[in-house]
Amino acid sequence: MSEIDMAVIKPEMMKPYVWLQTSDDSIQQVEQEIAMFCPLICQEIIQKGMGSSKNCAICLPQQVSPAMLSLILDYCRFHQVPGRSNKERKSYDEKFVRIDTERLCELTSAADSLQLKPLVDLTSRALARIIEGKSPEEIRDIFHLPDDLTEEEKLEPLRNITADPRIRLLNRLYAKKRKELKERERILKLKKSMWMNVQLMTFCLLLMEMKENFVAEPKGVKTSKNKKKNRRKKEQQKNSSSKETSELDKKEVNGHDIRHQSSEAERISESSYLHYAEDGTSTPKSDDGDIYDGIDPALKEKIDREVEDFARRLNSDWPERMQELLSSGQDRKTLLFNTDGFLRRHA
């Protein structure tokens, strides 16, 4: 976009600054020229006319925290200068990605959300280099990932694997829904048990109060205690959710000891084959029982039905030509081995 074009479209766009809102709701002023380097921001300014003031600040995607925005702007600030040589740019890039892995992941995600492809490629490559040469355990350690593949799956995981973006989206929604429901169930359970405890406690206190001196109304006591309860509940939630996720992950592993497949043949010999439908569709079977723990069965059925429906619709049709070719029978030639002692040259 040349400056003249910008002036013709909107006079306000000649302003050197644009207002951006990051994931923590804070708003900052950024040089427009630099920010426009990001396609998403560019789009927001030109197509929607946003960002010209604090009130219409451009809401950046939630992956963009202030720290990430700062890094990204540094990158844009360097690269938008036209005079730099390729060597300079390369050298800058190499230094730029020398940050800790966690920030590198965040940065990749943030750049991706802003559609800044060169930076996405740069950071993705850096992450790929970190992964290169490592074992699965090492990779899990570096990225703090759960060890949630079962022993059988590590031998050959079999699940809903299709390329159709609809199925992938559905799987993602499915996983998201699963997580949400689990979260809800957990909170419900927590609420229940807390409420029980509180009831018990209140009753005891009441008994004590009644016993000792009749001071305040039960209601008044309850509300102040309720406030404390809520605060404690929030804290507990934050603490227990991370613990509980890891516990859940352990549960999902069918109680098997997670070890690399190369250990003990006996272990592998005891496991059974996973089910795999002959018609090519894969539907969750009974060995997935652990994953369904705690999910509303009606919702589970609905999701299962949707997945099956998609799988059915995905069966592609053979071109007619192929059908003809293949139906005309197998024609295998038997081959006489040459026994003249000819030595193969290639390996």
Binding site: Q21, S23, D25, Q62, E102, C105, S109, D112, S113, V120, D121, S124, R125, L127, A128, I131, E132, G133, K134, P136, I139, R140, F143, L145, P146, D147, D148, L149, E153, L155, E156, P157, R159, I161, A163, R168, N171, E183, K238, S241, S242, T245, A265, I268, S269, Y276, G280, W318, M322, L325, D331, R332, T334, L335, L336, T339, L343, R344, R345, H346
Partner: protein, 581 residues
Amino acid sequence: MNKMEGQAPSPLPDQVLENVLETVLHFLSSRRDRNAASLVCKSWYRAEALTRSELFIGNCYAVSPRRATARFPRVRSLTIKGKPRFADFDLMPLNWGAHFTPWAQALAQSYPSLRRLHLKRMSLTDRDLTLLSLSFPHFQDLLLTCCEAFTTTGLAAIAANCRLLRVLDLAECVVEVADEEVDWISSFPETQEETHLESLVFDCVECPVNFQALERLVARSPSLRKLRLNRYVSMSQLHRLMHRAPQLTHLGTGSFSASELDPEPDYASAFAASKSLVCLSGFREIWPDYLPAIYPACANLTSLNFSYADINAHQLKSVIRHCHKLQTFWVLDSISDEGLQAVAETCKDLRELRVFPVNTREEIEGPVSEVGFEAISRGCRKLQSILFFCQRMTNAAVVAMSNNCPDLVVFRLCIIGQYRPDPETLEPMDEGFGAIVMNCKKLTRLAVSGLLTDRAFGYIGTYGKLIRTLSVAFAGDTDLGLKYVLEGCPNLQKLEIRDSPFGDGALRSGLHHFYNMRFLWMSSCKLTRQACQEVARRLPHLVLEVINSEEGKADDIEILYMYRSLDRPRDDAPKVVTILH
């Protein structure tokens, strides 16, 4: 962005990565890294499966076509290997398997964007080739190595239908001639003004080609860099082709002999004009008098394949003294130790050497020996890969090579004859091979021969920690030998043994490791059916094929071919194969 109250905590690191995981995985190309990534966790497994575009299948029976295509939906390049290497030595029955047809059908259905296919030791029919040619509109590269069961008809289909064909490489295939000789070269459409061809290798096709059509094809292929002709192309025809394609980098010269007695063109000028040539091969029916023609090209050569050229030391010397940049050299032992010494003197940059025998009889003197071998080790210090056939070798020479060439990755020494000791000391060859595994710390492939006791295997088990492929023939004393190897070599993937006294105890000692291996081949050893049955029972993902020369007699184990597999055993085996599971 307003946050709702009581929202979940900030996303866990794996969720952050999940958004961009596919982008990251696109930059992961080595299959070892991809396999590691796929075992990290469920979401990585899924993302990796969706982004794998190059698929390598080391054993066509390890996984069914349906499973492979179901897991990896976006493959553009596929490599499949079929029969084990010992099949080359007539040790396998007719029609054993490695049929490509079920794969062809699965690929046609699942990979419409397939661009590249490389098959090794597979059996594919004309129908398979025709199906391929019609199913993949973007198909570019077809490489067939040591394949069989197809004819020139199949080649014609590929030529005719694959409009974007870039590479057609047939290496050591057995191409049967169709009942009516099919002019497959003419099948390349003449209406296409320029082809996309970059590589055309057909030196193994044993039938004449239409030269005029070939010449026209070469003339309209401006991108052609590799051209390897079969022995039906004469010297003068070669000359014409070279003038059509001076941009060639790899040339297979065809017969390198003349059939007419006409005045001959200046062959040397053709080679001088091909300034980009780095690789020469062919010389299928060489007239050594024509060798001087290649002198102008020698200085630039990095690869020279004389493995079909029966030339002597003197003739070789005249060529090799110009080849200072040579890195790969394949030759017949007809050049004798003197020839090898000449190579050692000039080719200081040599990385790979293969010396093939003209005569595989044991009782002859043999033109190459430890003398030439040791000369090579002294002259070519950068050697990484050697395949050496000879009738005689000493421990001292092998030890010398282990010291002079520490970069060796592939060491294959084939002393022709059974149980041959060191002719100087009459000792077994244990110390020589022991030195190799001790000193060559990068060694991944080893082939042993000569008289060997369990001691040699003890060395291999102790020092050969990186070895992935091991070939053994007529070697060892007791089960201990094989036990040392199976217990000591954690990276062992391919083990081929013939005529060695290893039995059930040895087999059992590998139970902890068999799932890590691509295959185990044991023929004419001392295995019993019971032991094999036991292994099959204890390791359900292993397929044990017992192959006997006579149908029905499955008590004696003549050949055991054992491999891991994720699917049920195959159903396309001939009657002589009994599958235990």
